[in-house]
Symmetry: none
Subunit: 115 residues, 2 copies
């Protein structure tokens, strides 16, 4: 199973590719990132994430979501905070930073620039 997020990010099971760099996620990190990225652009309330990824009913007092978000952001590197935004008082939102498909620079002229 491969999920393509944008031309700089794809996921194959727990192996994620970011800008030609591979990184390994744990299972929960993967499930959380999958849930967020499959709803790209939408704000996912904490209650929903805790319900779907953890099976927690609302009212459960826990910090585990925050901790996982932190580890995901760190693994995503420099742009971690940009990929996963905090919506204060509600939840989190995953956004694409670049177009879903790479720009095609097929013309030889592209390589001639500056030559």
């Amino acid at each position: 199973m491969t999920i393509f997020l944008d031309d700089h990010l794809s996921i194959d099971w727990t192996t994620v590719r970011v800008d030609d760099q591979k990184l390994i996620l744990t299972r929960k990190e993967f499930e959380l990132l999958a849930m967020l990225s499959q709803n790209e652009g939408e704000t996912m309330p904490r209650t929903v994430l805790l319900e779907t990824v953890w099976g927690y009913r609302s009212g459960t007092r826990t910090r585990t979501l925050d901790v996982h978000i932190r580890r995901l952001r760190r693994k995503l590197g420099q742009f971690g905070e940009d990929y996963i935004q905090t919506i204060f008082g509600v939840g989190y939102r995953f956004v694409r930073l670049r177009p879903a498909r790479p720009l095609q620079l097929s013309s030889p002229a592209a390589f001639a620039i500056g030559a």
Copy 2:
């Protein structure tokens, strides 16, 4: 039936060749290696391996998969752990360590370098 994994590994029924050395697998070891190598590069979940190779329904508590993985790795020798990777919390993945076909250096010029 012969399966070529890479230029250092091939399988012919229960006989496996690794770096010009032949080794004998038992039936279960063969079935497991076949299942993994036929899905080279993909993560095979434990549940899938237990279902296809053993016919176990998910929920069965057993360590037999781990034991077989261990014996396979040991028989594959030095690079056993590289050929069969553990995807923690999910399953295992077989990967090629070298190109599927050896590089052809047929030109005499290739041997002339440095001569």
